[in-house]
């Protein structure tokens, strides 16, 4: 049975594909495993060129952040508690060198989260990012699957037009889908 969560996963995969990135780096998260697996399938099918794991988020910033220096563009898929790891790389490299890249991250903490400690990093993430001049766009249960896709595509364009990293935060909690979780 297709749920709204499945539709949102599919929309994210379609949006990333429409952006035609030269590479996608990912750091794992159970909430976005269907997205990562969908991207890996797209790579196998030839609709996306290169999908690869990294061991920590700052590696992704280094690798994908370097793409614009060669006239290319990349995407990072991760979860929001990794912004603590990524922040120095983001600010001293991607922001300082004006390097566009799109980061799509699911939220932990907040609604639907079972882990009692992860709130402490997830809750301040939007403020942390905005305070370092990194734009943040948020998606949640109030947005349709189509809106998720459109926002991600436009955020990718916004990153390239403004020469800086841009973050889309995805909150998967939805009371209409009992399996939806952070």
């Amino acid at each position: 049975m297709t749920t709204i969560t499945h539709e949102r996963h599919r929309s994210v995969i379609d949006a990333i594909t429409r952006l035609e990135p030269d590479g996608v780096a990912y750091v794992p998260s159970a909430s976005i495993a269907p997205i990562i697996n969908g991207l890996l399938s797209a790579e196998e099918e030839g609709t996306l060129p290169l999908i690869f794991p990294v061991s920590r988020e700052e590696e992704a910033i280094g690798i994908v952040g370097a793409y614009p220096l060669a006239g290319k563009f990349g995407v990072i898929v991760m979860q929001d508690n990794g912004f603590g790891n990524a922040l120095t790389a983001l600010t001293t490299f991607a922001v300082s060198y004006h390097l566009p890249l799109l980061i799509i991250a699911n939220t932990r903490g907040g609604l639907g989260e079972y882990n009692s400690m992860i709130h402490n990093i997830s809750a301040p993430v939007p403020e942390l990012l905005r305070s370092t001049n990194i734009p943040v766009f948020s998606l949640d249960r109030r947005n349709s699957a189509d809106d998720w896709a459109a926002t991600i595509v436009e955020a990718g364009k916004h990153s390239q037009m403004t020469y800086r990293p841009v973050v889309v935060l995805m909150e998967f909690f939805d009371h209409t889908d009992e399996k939806a979780k952070a």
């Binding site: 030269d22 290169l50 794991p53 061991s55 910033i61 280094g62 370097a66 006239g71 001293t92 004006h98």
Partner: protein, 192 residues
Amino acid sequence: MKRIDALRTIIESTANEPVVATCAATSRELASIDDRDNHLYLLDAMGLAISVGNGIAQCIQANSEARCFVIEGDGSMLMNPGAALTAGYLRQENLVIIVLDNGVYASTAGIPTQARDLDLGAIAEAAGLRVLRPEGEAELAAALTASRNEAGPWFLHARIEPGNAASTPLLLMDPVILGQRFQSWLLCRTAS
């Protein structure tokens, strides 16, 4: 071998290749020898040089002869050792990582690093990188030639003396300009 001597050797063989240099004294000394457009200085992104080099290497792989050279230090590599593991996983054949290992954080008062007791070359070997251990400028030059002639990813582990070159000026350029200069050079290079 001093760092400045190692950097002179690297510069002699990388006139037409992208070179990503780790922050602080390494970038400063590299620029003091010859501030070239093909140099990307990471002014304050410690631990990021290998990852950035990996990204550049991915982007230029269509040219089978092109190499991306990364100049890393032991302290910087130890701040983000996962980058070397990922380099081994990604297996970019055109990536050449040069680690100038002096066993200290030379840019921060010469404080010892773990490299005094850890063999970074052995770690790189375990990650699947092709490791050479050049001693002195002649062996480093030979290792650079080997890395150009055979597929990598390479990891040139060069032990050097602690210390920085005296009176090296600070690099006070805007990173946006540094990045744009490097990008213009790289796009011309890859288009030709």
